[in-house]
């Protein structure tokens, strides 16, 4: 027969390995981030295993590609939870996938720790109640948008801002919404708000229009490939405004692709890349994969640390027990202290790092929190 009774967790407790799952984009236009995230996770897990594993058990990672597609994410999670019987899932690197899997997680009683899924809806329902099996280690869109706007208005004293954003991206739209809200609340004006569509490579039409509005700062809340292209094109058109962005920016690739154009820009980030504590981690990754570490790597590292902590707290490898432990877990990660709030399943009070790009480097300015 085809009984659809969920049958996860259970027997996993008796085995002597702990299986964890990972999902994310290994193909499609988000593959850069997904690939780095998965690679980093494998590396971190190797280290953990070398150090004796968790509760004396070795850890095994099973990762599946989602192509950035919500439907695929659901399939992958069904497979991870029911067939591979993982005790928790890390990833994915986008909110859409993280939201769509919550039904399966609840059915199978397996927790997910999202890495860079910044949409508030990932962990809470529409009515404000928290989803029992969804967690994350990053701060959320409203926070990031507010930080950027607050910093631009209060610290940099800008009053005229323009926004260029990706209409089709939930991430970009989220940041835009909250940047706009906070910035105007603080007395600034949005002099231009222009959109483009994922996959676009030419932004000169929008930028020409922005140029005419003469903003002091242009907020560019999207990923670094588009950032590089649009920043270069902006400078080409003679735009001299300061550029500002979110956590889609930080990457060595960005510097490579648009070093001059982004000079003097401000970025809201999760951490300070030049922090001496972070360096060894970056170098280890670089040595192992001969690629530069992307932001996702830091966050998946923290997600794993959080998971490790929860298993220890629960003193069990039962998926449900891990989920319970996660909702109060505390851990010190490379992106800051992560204190999961039981009400929101977000890392509360996580401060953002403000970074300025100077001389082709990400220079840490200060920790900054929106009120």
């Amino acid at each position: 027969g085809c009984s659809s009774q969920p049958s996860a967790g259970g027997d996993a407790a008796e085995s002597d390995t702990i299986k964890i799952g990972w999902i994310g984009s290994l193909t499609g236009d988000q593959a850069v981030w997904g690939t780095c995230e998965f690679d980093t996770l494998k590396m971190v897990v190797e280290d953990a295993n070398a150090a004796g594993g968790i509760l004396g058990k070795q850890i095994e990672v099973i990762g599946y590609d989602t192509r950035g597609d919500a439907t695929e994410a659901v399939n992958a999670v069904k497979r991870l939870t029911s067939q591979d019987k993982v005790v928790a899932i890390l990833g994915p690197n986008a909110s859409g996938q993280a939201i769509s899997i919550s039904g399966v997680l609840e059915q199978m009683k397996v927790a997910n720790i999202a890495t860079v899924a910044t949409n508030p809806k990932v962990t809470v329902n529409d009515d404000g109640s928290v989803k029992p099996y969804n967690f994350r280690v990053c701060f959320i869109d409203p926070y990031q948008g507010a930080v950027a706007a607050g910093y631009a208005a209060d610290k940099l004293s800008f009053t005229k801002a323009a926004i260029l954003y990706d209409v089709t991206s939930d991430y970009s739209q989220g940041l835009t919404e909250f940047f706009e809200k906070t910035f105007t609340e603080k007395g600034g004006t949005i002099v231009a708000k222009e959109g483009f569509k994922a996959g676009d490579v030419d932004f000169r039409a929008q930028l020409s229009k922005i140029k005419e509005a003469q903003p002091e700062v242009i907020f560019m809340p999207y990923y670094y490939k588009e950032v590089a292209l649009s920043a270069n094109q902006a400078r080409e058109l003679g735009i001299t405004s300061v550029l500002m962005g979110g956590d889609g920016w930080p990457s060595d690739q960005l510097i490579e692709m648009a070093s001059d154009a982004i000079e003097g820009s401000f970025v809201v980030n999760h951490l300070d890349f030049n922090d001496p504590d972070v360096k060894p981690f970056q170098e280890q990754y670089k040595a192992k994969y001969n690629k530069n570490l992307e932001l996702n790597g830091y966050l998946v590292h923290d997600a794993f640390k959080l998971f490790e902590q929860a298993v220890k707290d629960a003193n069990s490898t039962d998926s449900d027990a891990i989920a319970k432990a996660l909702s109060t877990a505390k851990v010190e990660g490379i992106t800051g202290n992560i204190n999961i709030s039981p009400e929101t399943h977000n890392p509360e009070g996580k401060e953002a790092a403000i970074i300025k790009i100077t001389g082709g480097n990400y220079e840490f300015q200060e920790k900054y929190a929106a009120e």
Partner: protein, 292 residues
Amino acid sequence: MIGFIQQMINGLSIGSVYALMAVGYSLVYSIMNFSNFAHGGVIMIGSYIGFFCISLLNFSFPVAFLTAALGSGLLAVVLEKVAYNPLRKRNAPFLYFIISAMGASIFLENIVVATIGPTFRTYPPVFSATPIQIGGLTIGRLDVLMFVISAISLSILVYIIEKTKIGLAIRATSYSSKGSTLMGVNVDKVIFTIFLLGGILAGIAGVLFGMKYTVYPQIGAITMKSFIAAVFGGLGSLQGAVIGSILLGIIETLTSGYISSQYRDLIAFALLIAVLIIRPTGIMGKSNEDKA
């Protein structure tokens, strides 16, 4: 006013990007009567070939350019042999060609992801990045180059197709390959030529693209725009493809600049439909309304 002129320049330059892709695409369409959705994949490969020639093998720019053009030409020919030729031999309907092309496109994109990796790659600077400035207007050097190359390749192709014997054979074959076989045309050779030319154009486009927009596995996706542009202009007509591309570029920028950038594609699409309602075969398309 300056703003408007700048927008026109932007439009023209985006249009010539589309045109560069649309010509190669339209060329294949004009003879095979199907939309070669793998064209974007070939462009992408061309872009990678150029990139590796310059950055890994330290080829000079012209040599790299040539290698990329020939490499893509070769790839297009191989693609034809593998994915289309068997269909052609069986007189399969055009839909099957399209699907085969889609399969090829998925294959190309993902083989690059799986082997070379998904990272973005930046061409080393070949041209001075500083644009030409004329009285407050900016014109990118690469844009000018693209425009010139589109114009040249279009002229050459139009000459070949309309004035030469092989061009005549190409047009005849596009209507009936049985008929032209009976006239002694080596249809395989004609198709080989077409794909080679189309591939070379794709390679050229790929390198220019890579320089302008960086190289990554999905870069071929922009060909969708040139496909639309080719329809705008009238499928199978090379001139139409270029006119459609330039028009689409200008419409897009003017919409972004003066109406709404958020709804740009919606408006461009509405205009496309309007054009097609008035001229069901695009601007330059001949209505090959056959006689009853």
